[in-house]
């Protein structure tokens, strides 16, 4: 009895400490959220308080002056196409790498795996894209994101495809199917949950990124939301209410994705934690 009471006490203490710590996380986010509805004078205190009046007009102002509609569509195009491209190419490659089990396929696996470690060489990537004649275009950014995420996706897919029994493929091969049939008709339906995980992980990292657009999108009409926000932040550095509204709008897509797709994010993290 006294033992379980001691346990209960300990749980209360831990819970209290964690709730206090969580306030440290919530406060800055609430300052941003409440501030985005304030007037430009009211927001300058940067302290936690509800706005005197909820100015929804801040949001329409940023939308009009920050060019956010365009930036939103650019971001959707870049994140959407690069994640679909990445899902298709990485899952197909992982399927062969896992099933072949030869020296050559092991070498290729390590070759892809290096991409998880090595930093990208930005300046020479620009050079390569210039040689190919599409520096500054959205296409170049899509292909770069697809290549940057290949290593992570191959790693995730390989772990999962290894757990699909090979006997399934063997039966199909004996009935005269070829590699493409087996991949599209047998493996692809089984890896739908992994596709969702990869899509969400790629979407989040690409949507939030500013480095690649900064180097590769030379024309402001091609910018994604974070880069437009950064530009807006430089121009309107007095109007913190508008800056906060801008930041909230940029965060909305990933927040919505997080709320509805938590399950897939957790399974991606679990793969990392358990398989190492």
């Amino acid at each position: 009895m006294s033992f379980s009471r001691k346990m209960a006490w300990r749980n209360y203490v831990v819970e209290g400490l964690l709730i206090l710590a969580s306030l440290l996380i919530i406060l800055p986010l609430l300052i941003m959220l409440f501030g985005s509805f304030m007037t430009s004078a009211e927001v300058l205190k940067f302290s936690l308080r509800l706005p005197e009046k909820w100015n929804f007009s801040n949001y329409t102002t940023v939308f009009r002056e920050g060019g956010l509609g365009r930036a939103f569509l650019n971001g959707m195009l870049i994140t959407g196409v690069s994640s679909i491209l990445n899902i298709f190419t990485s899952s197909a490659a992982s399927f062969i790498l896992v099933r072949r089990e030869t020296k050559w396929s092991n070498f290729l696996y390590m070759f892809f795996f290096m991409g998880l470690i090595a930093p990208m060489s930005t300046i020479t990537t620009i050079r390569v894209v210039q040689w190919m004649g599409f520096y500054g275009s959205i296409t170049s950014v899509i292909l770069i994101y697809a290549s940057l995420n290949t290593a992570f996706s191959v790693f995730l897919y390989s772990g999962f495809i290894r757990s699909i029994p090979k006997a399934l493929d063997e039966v199909a091969f004996l009935e005269g199917a070829n590699t493409f049939d087996v991949f599209f008709k047998i493996v692809t339906p089984l890896i739908v949950p992994v596709n969702a995980t990869v899509a969400i992980m790629v979407f989040m990292s690409v949507w939030n990124d500013i480095t690649i657009p900064l180097y590769f999108l030379t024309d402001s009409s091609d910018w994604t939301m974070p880069l437009s926000v950064y530009n807006f932040y430089g121009k309107y550095s007095r109007d913190w209410n508008l800056i906060f509204a801008d930041l909230v709008l940029t965060s909305l897509p990933v927040l919505i994705l997080y709320i509805f797709c938590q399950k897939y994010i957790v399974s991606g993290l679990t793969a990392g934690a358990v398989k190492g």
Binding site: N11, V14, L17, L18, I19, S22, P28, L29, I31, S47, T89, A92, A93, F95, R99, R100, T102, G115, L116, I117, P119, S121, T122, I123, T124, I126, R127, V128, V129, L143, I144, A146, S147, T150, D169, E170, F173, N178, T179, F180, N208, I210, T211, L214, P226, W240, F244, L247, T250, S251, V254, L255, Y258, V266, L269, T270, G272, A273, K275, G276
Partner: protein
């Protein structure tokens, strides 16, 4: 019945291999070559200049400072994100009423853009900002600092913001690791009279090793590649006090000294590889012995 390996046609590898090789591996290899040249914006003929770029990196004060700052940032964030990450995960793995809500709160900053968090923290870290005002309100004015304008302090401030944002991500990986540990081990340990610290050291830590390894790798590599936090919070300033390798590469690119920029990148590549490869080999060995 064994199916021939040749039935798995290499055709399906080609698209991934092509995109990855052209846009990631080829630039890495040409970068290796260009870091030994005087490649510049205003130069027609590129000349091979041996180790000159690297000599310059190790004699230029700003570049040396950038390397030092990168190392400080990496070490501080690795320690902070992992110690706090484990602590949060262990706490939130207990039977708490609010654990699901708390997990979501701690994880939430890590899904937002580094740009968003860095801009939100900028006014709070000013001399008259929220953080200093809180210190004054609770009677600890001696703790208020010029967080972003004191050259000796600024890289630590940037590291703090990164720890604030990303510890929840590490926590989530540790939680997944903890949940894969069977409760029976702890029950057996309790029956044998082991206290909670003893259980933590002898059961939790060893069985959490895969998660610890992956987190150390992720935070270390991410720390060495730091760019966005510094770029948005300080732009490398005041002066050059918070320059890191990532911002130096952007500056070299802007100035048109591309040979020097790629040399800095090559150095980063070498550092990451030298640190990460032994860690990887170590991880593989651990896995086998388990």
């Amino acid at each position: 019945m064994k199916v021939s390996k040749r039935l798995y046609s290499y055709y399906l590898i080609w698209p991934a291999l092509l995109i990855y090789s052209v846009f990631f591996v080829l630039p890495a290899l040409t970068g290796l070559f260009y870091s030994f040249t005087d490649w510049r914006l205003d130069r027609e003929n590129i000349q091979f200049i041996g180790w000159d770029n690297f000599e310059r990196i190790f004699t230029d004060r700003t570049l040396l400072l950038a390397i030092k700052n990168t190392a400080i940032f990496a070490v501080v964030t690795v320690i902070g994100k992992n110690l706090l990450g484990i602590a949060l995960a262990v706490g939130l793995n207990m039977k708490l009423k609010s654990k699901n809500l708390l997990r979501a709160i701690f994880y939430s900053p890590s899904i937002l853009s580094v740009l968003v968090i860095s801009i939100v923290f900028t006014p709070m870290l000013r001399s008259d900002g929220t953080i200093n005002r809180i210190f004054e309100a609770v009677g600890l004015p001696s703790l208020s600092q010029a967080w972003l304008t004191n050259p000796a302090l600024v890289i630590w401030t940037v590291a703090f913001v990164s720890i604030w944002q990303h510890t929840g991500f590490q926590m989530a990986i540790y939680l997944a690791g903890l949940q894969s540990i069977s409760k029976e081990y702890y029950e057996a340990a309790t029956i044998d009279g082991a206290g909670s610290w003893r259980s933590f050291r002898s059961i939790t830590i060893p069985l959490l090793l895969p998660a610890i390894n992956i987190n150390l790798m992720l935070t270390l590599i991410g720390g060495l590649k730091v760019f966005s936090e510094v770029f948005v919070l300080t732009g490398g300033g005041p002066g050059n006090a918070s320059q890191v390798v990532g911002t130096i590469i952007l500056r070299s690119f802007g100035e048109g000294s591309w040979g020097l920029g790629t040399a800095v990148n090559t150095l980063l590549f070498a550092a990451v590889t030298i640190i990460a490869i032994p860690l990887l080999i170590f991880m593989r060995r651990k896995e086998v012995s388990e």
